[in-house]
């Protein structure tokens, strides 16, 4: 990469881990001046983490950051990134909803101050909005909290391109078009091409492969915290891009599952659900004893459907039919799962409280018996089930949550990406238990963001924009197909 063009950014061997998870495992990345770089990969591939490192909001554990030819270790921070002309439009919005559009522009620019700053900030942001999104309909005096999501996104993008006394070399756009309509998205991409021709660089992260293929000069593909392919955009097409993102080798299938999906229709239906308000898409059907996978990109309606099913249990619901008691295994352990101040035993038995009662009072002996039983069945690693739940490692806390659901009377178990941040040993143990419970007639609905976990499922439904867009029986399910359906339909 030693062309005549100036290197704006060179990352070498950047690594970052969160607990047991390697978010980045030694990434190299080069960006030239006047280049539009596309960055693609499945959820959790490490794209956003890498951009946080580049924007200075996360410090890497290892690796070199070279900006504009000079190494920047140790002293790299948000402020340094701004001084060096690197801006980032983060995936989650970074505007203050209580301030006006002009005031939000001022927050990015320490130089805008003194008499009349309000007018200058307002003109600056309004001019940039006019330039990028003609006909945007946003006034500099509007309070951001009053604007629709798409308009907020436009303000944030325009703000990233405004210039005062600091230079502008590189703008990182993380899923910039996710809340824009097709017209404004087109306006943005045309603008990106224009400023790239003027010598500013751009990194475009997008799940819309058409955008990346159509507007980027070079495409970098990430998987599992590593760069797995980096070539000129012309050398990719949609197909080769999708296969670079996913694992193409498909040889881990087990014969037992094949056999079961064949006699699917023999078992009675346990759950029949259609995402609320999405009449266009397909519906999800689960038969007794099946493990159903919910797949697709994160946040495309899987959790919502699980909650819809959870709420519909034991009630009449137009879109949802559930035949038995339901239990939910939460994905966000700390927020929705464990009772922090309770013991492990209490955390396990809370769902089955009714069985512990004798004349309205809880029987400690029954509680202890159930806790001991599940400690052994789930192999929860603790000397005493009366220890506080937080004394367990993350994986063992998750086992306790599984014990809560499996120990209950629930016939249907909903799992909301429960294996997030759990080590592989625990995962394999839990997979075996889930399969054994399914053999005994329990039904599992399993939302997962990990491709490998889908191998445990009898049937996979792929979600996009809140709809069920694909229904893949075990035999037909390949990572390729899941990815194809997760991304936009092939035109």
């Amino acid at each position: 990469m030693s062309g005549s063009k100036r290197q704006i950014v060179r990352l070498q061997g950047v690594a970052k881990r969160f607990g047991a998870v390697h978010a980045l495992a030694g990434v190299d990345l080069d960006v030239e001046a006047g280049q539009c770089l596309g960055l693609v990969g499945h959820n959790g591939a490490g794209k956003s983490t890498l951009m946080h490192v580049l924007a200075g909001t996360l410090a890497p554990d290892r690796g070199a950051i070279v900006i504009d030819g000079a190494p920047r270790e140790g002293q790299y921070s948000v402020a340094a990134a701004h001084r060096l002309g690197i801006r980032c439009v983060f995936q989650e919005l970074s505007l203050c909803p209580n301030l006006t559009v002009a005031e939000n522009a001022r927050i990015l620019h320490p130089a805008v101050k003194g008499w009349g700053w309000r007018g200058r900030a307002g003109r600056m942001i309004a001019d940039k909005l006019d330039e990028i999104f003609p006909g945007h309909g946003v006034s500099a005096d509007d309070v951001v909290g009053d604007l629709a999501l798409g308009k907020r996104q436009m303000v944030e993008i325009a703000r990233a391109f405004t210039v005062t006394d600091e230079p502008l070399h590189l703008v990182i756009l993380d899923e910039p078009t996710s809340s824009l309509d097709s017209v404004t998205a087109e306006q943005l991409l045309v603008f990106v091409r224009k400023i790239v021709d003027e010598g500013v660089s751009c990194i475009l992260i997008s799940h819309l492969l058409g955008e990346v293929l159509g507007y980027c000069d070079r495409i970098v593909v990430m998987r599992d915290g590593q760069v797995v392919a980096a070539r000129a955009a012309g050398e990719f097409d949609r197909h080769s891009l999708v296969s670079a993102m996913g694992d193409v080798a498909e040889d881990k299938k087990t014969a037992a599952h094949e056999a079961r999906s064949a006699n699917r229709d023999a078992a009675p239906v346990c759950v029949r659900a259609r995402p609320r308000g999405k009449a266009a898409g397909g519906e999800l059907v689960a038969h007794r004893g099946e493990i159903i996978g919910l797949s697709g990109l994160a946040g495309h309606g899987q959790t919502e459907l699980l909650l819809q099913i959870y709420q519909a249990a034991g009630r009449r619901d137009r879109d949802t039919e559930v035949t038995g008691p339901v239990a939910l295994v939460a994905g966000d352990r700390q927020a929705d799962g464990v009772f922090h101040l309770w013991s492990i035993a209490q955390n396990v038995t809370v769902r089955s409280m009714r069985r512990m009662l004798w004349h309205g009072l809880i029987q400690p002996a029954r509680e202890a018996a159930m806790a001991a039983d599940w400690r052994q069945r789930m192999r929860i690693r603790t000397p005493d089930m009366n220890n506080p739940i937080l004394s367990l490692s993350g994986g063992n806390q998750q086992k306790a949550l599984f014990a809560r659901a499996l120990g209950s009377d629930a016939e249907i178990v909903l799992m909301d990406d429960p294996m997030r941040g759990v080590d592989i040993g625990t995962k394999l143990e839990v997979y075996d238990i889930i399969r054994a419970e399914a053999e005994r007639g329990r039904t599992f609905l399993w939302y997962t963001t990990e491709m490998d976990e889908l191998d445990n499922c009898d049937h996979v439904y792929v979600f996009r924009n809140g709809q069920v867009v694909a229904d893949l029986p075990r035999g037909e399910m390949t990572e390729q197909k899941v990815l194809q359906s997760s991304f936009e339909q092939v035109a």
Binding site: S94, C96, N98
Partner: protein, 312 residues
């Protein structure tokens, strides 16, 4: 900004002013003699320290915190003002400066250790009160002459409390709502992460806001002894709840950096007048506190209604 009178944002902005006008009108109707400069002065005198304490509370609310210690703090300032500031002005000024610094440190601590502000300030309430009792064990002391002179100042035409209220509202409005650094301070309440990502120090914003609260707490305590001429440790205990109620009444919110200095001052005036109005209406003293709470609930319920319309 003003898109018709039915606009919820406009309604919310004028609600504090309307509640003030209603209460003032009721007082004038019951007792027309209050409609004179002297009458207004007597009615509104005690609103000045309350307004200053409410502004102090508003600074804390702006960064999503809550200050339960302001009542004890204003009491401590009053005690220092009625003793050291009178007998040994230099030492008094140093002590008051230390009070402000202590407030800033409290803010830094809350930020550093990510502590709940309610817990820290509830603890500090008793610390301030304890120090105040050490400074002035029995009610007494004397306010410095210059403070009583300022508070007793009688400008022509307009009563002093009204002049003071307007000055406080305008100064804070420009400092917090119109200045370029005020934007950062309010932004830190609206979306702290966004402000940090733009390269600003959240610690500095907390320090600044708590120091400002400390400063206005000092002004509140001094203006209070300017009216009472002496002090006692518990003199300002009701200020904690009055300041929170006044700020909320004036359109501030508990989270999200949405505050209004003008509204806070009007809210403080309304609450002070509400107390007075109940006396005029011959509400028995036993029922006054309850009736005050009733007024508060009515006004806040109105605001909740307006907010609901905004969401719909």
């Amino acid at each position: 900004m003003l898109r018709g009178l039915g606009n919820p944002r406009f309604l919310r902005a004028v609600l504090p002013a309307i509640s003030l006008a209603v209460i003032l009108g009721a007082i004038f109707a019951v007792n027309p003699r209050t409609m004179s400069p002297i009458g207004l002065n007597l009615l509104l005198q005690l609103a000045v320290p309350v307004a200053l304490a409410t502004i102090a509370q508003m600074f804390i609310l702006a960064v999503n915190d809550l200050d339960l210690s302001i009542g004890g703090y204003v009491g401590l300032v009053a005690c220092i003002g009625a003793t050291f500031l009178n007998t040994d002005p230099l030492l008094g000024v140093v002590l008051l400066g230390a009070c402000i610094a202590a407030y800033a440190v409290m803010g830094a601590l809350i930020h550093w250790r990510n502590l709940p502000s309610i817990v820290v300030t509830l603890g500090m309430l008793f610390v301030w009160q304890g120090i105040a009792i050490l400074v002035l064990p029995t009610p007494g002391g004397a306010a410095p002459g210059w403070i009583t002179a300022i508070m007793g100042f009688k400008p022509p035409l307009v009563p002093f409390p009204i002049v003071a209220a307007v000055v406080i509202a305008v100064v804070v409005h420009f400092a917090l709502m119109r200045s370029s650094y005020g934007v950062i301070l309010r932004g830190a309440g609206g979306n702290p992460r966004a402000v940090a990502r733009a390269g600003w120090s959240l610690l500095k914003t907390k320090l600044a806001m708590y120091a400002l609260a400390g400063l206005f707490g000092v002004l509140s305590g001094l203006s209070l002894i300017g009216l009472t001429t002496s002090a006692q440790a518990n003199i300002a205990m009701p200020y904690t709840l009055l300041s929170i109620a006044g700020a909320i009444l004036g359109g501030s919110e508990f989270v999200g950096g949405r505050v209004s200095p003008v509204g806070a001052v009007i809210g403080a005036l309304t609450l002070t007048l509400a107390t007075r109005a109940l006396t005029f209406f011959h509400v028995p003293p036993d029922w006054q506190i309850g009736a005050q709470g009733g007024i508060l609930i009515v006004v806040l319920a109105l605001r909740a209604l307006i907010n609901r319309r905004e969401v719909a």
